[in-house]
C-alpha cells in the first residue's frame, strides 16, 4: 500500500524549491500551477514543472501536479505539461461535481494516447473546497477509476461557509472533514486533511495533525518542508504499538503454518481488520 501521509506543495515557478524539495522526503510532492503562480508566469512555470518532472531525483517519489481549472485558459495546457512530463497524479482544484472529474478523465486519456503513455497510468485526485464539493464528495470520489485520493481544502471552504478557522477542535471543519473522509473510505481511496497556513506555529500545526490523524485521514497537504518531519513523527506508531503489531503478525503466520482457521493472541481473536491494522502499523513504523 502506498503511504500518503505528506503531500508537500511546491510553487511551480520556484526554481530553487523545484530543485531541492525532494530532500525533505515527503510521501508525495505537489507541483502547484494554480494559486501559487501568478497569471503572467503560468507559461514559464508550466515548462519548469514539465522539465522538473523528468529529472531523475523525482523518479522515486510520487509526483502530483495541481493544474488550473479546466474552465480557465490554463487548465488544458497544464494537463499537457503534467502528463507529458510524467506526473503520477493530477490534482484538480475546487472540484464540485463528478462531471468535472469525468471531463478531466477524458482529457487525460486523450493526452496519454497522444504521448504514448499507457491509458490509465495517470492517476487523479480532487480537492474539495466548497459546500457543493462536500455534498457531492461520494460521487466525486467514485467518478473515475483513476481516482486515488481526495483532499479537503480549508480556506475556500470556510469562506463559502461564511465562517473562519478557530484554534481549538475546529467545529467549523468537522462536518466537511467527516464527509470527505467517509467518501474516501467508501471509494477505497486516500484522504488528505487541510493545509495549516501558519508555518511559524508548530504547536497549532501539531494540534491540527492530531485531529486529522484521530479522524482517520491518511495525512495532510503541507506548505512548508519543516512540516514533513513533524507530520511523519506524529503519524509514527509508538514502540508498544509496533511490538503488538509484530506479535499479531507472528501469531497469524503461525496459525497459517499450522493450518488453523482461527487466530488468537492473548485470548483475543485476530480477524482480518486487526491483521490489516497491524500491517499498516509496521509500514508506518518503517517509514517513520
Amino acid at each position: 500500500m502506498k503511504l500518503r501521509r505528506s503531500m508537500l506543495f511546491v510553487p511551480g515557478d520556484n526554481a530553487a524549491m523545484l530543485s531541492t524539495s525532494f530532500i525533505y522526503k515527503p510521501d508525495s510532492i505537489m507541483f502547484d500551477l494554480e494559486d501559487a503562480v501568478s497569471p503572467r508566469e503560468k507559461d514559464s512555470a508550466r515548462l519548469l514543472v514539465f522539465q522538473a518532472l523528468q529529472h531523475p531525483v523525482y523518479r522515486d517519489i510520487e509526483t502530483v501536479v495541481r493544474i488550473n481549472s479546466l474552465s480557465t485558459e490554463f487548465g488544458r495546457k497544464d494537463l499537457e505539461a503534467a502528463i507529458r512530463g510524467g506526473a503520477n497524479v493530477v490534482r484538480l482544484p475546487k472540484t464540485e461535481s463528478p462531471e468535472a472529474i469525468r471531463e478531466l478523465d477524458t482529457h487525460v486519456t486523450r493526452i496519454e494516447i497522444a504521448c504514448g503513455r499507457p491509458v490509465g497510468d495517470t492517476k487523479l485526485m480532487a480537492a474539495i473546497e466548497s459546500a457543493s464539493g462536500v455534498v457531492n464528495a461520494v460521487a466525486i470520489a467514485t467518478a473515475s477509476p483513476r481516482m486515488i485520493a481526495i483532499a479537503m481544502a480549508g480556506f475556500d471552504y470556510l469562506v463559502d461557509m461564511h465562517t473562519r478557522r478557530s484554534d481549538d477542535w475546529q467545529p467549523e471543519l468537522f462536518y466537511a472533514r467527516a464527509a470527505v473522509l467517509h467518501a474516501a473510505r467508501a471509494a477505497h481511496i486516500d484522504a488528505f486533511d487541510v493545509v495549516y497556513g501558519n508555518v511559524n506555529d508548530d504547536e497549532g500545526f501539531m494540534r491540527e495533525v492530531k485531529i486529522a490523524k484521530q479522524l482517520g485521514f491518511n495525512g495532510k497537504s503541507l506548505i512548508h518542508p519543516k512540516q514533513v518531519y513533524l507530520l511523519h513523527r506524529a503519524y509514527a506508531p509508538t514502540q508498544d504499538e509496533v511490538d503488538h503489531a509484530r506479535r499479531v503478525i507472528a501469531a497469524a503466520e503461525e496459525a497459517l503454518r499450522n493450518g488453523l482457521g482461527v487466530v488468537s493472541l492473548d485470548g483475543k481473536m485476530i480477524d482480518p481488520p486487526v491483521l490489516k491494522e497491524a500491517e499498516m502499523t509496521l509500514q508506518l513504523a518503517e517509514a517513520a
Partner: protein, 96 residues
Amino acid sequence: MKIVKEAIAGTLESSDLLVKVAPSDTREIVIKSEVFKQFGKQIARVVEETLDQLSVKAGSVVIEDKGALDCVIRARVQAATLRGSGSEDLDWRRLS
C-alpha cells in the same frame, strides 16, 4: 521557431537563471554564470540543445545563471524563446 521580439524568462534568484532573447540575424549566445569555470561548457550545451529542439536558427540569447540545474535551464530557455516567438501553440513533442 523565429524570435520576433524581445522577451525574458526566469529570475536572478539562487538555483534559477534569467534568459533574455531578442531578434538577430544570427544565433548568438552569451552566458554569464557564477559557476562558469566548472559548468560553463555544460550550460552552453544545454542551451544549444534546447534551441536546436525548438529549431531556433537566429536570435540573441543572453543567460545570467545562478546555479540552475539543467532542467531549469531548459525550461527557462524554452519559456523565453516561446515568449519571444509570440507563439501561443506549443508542440510538446519538441520540448522533451
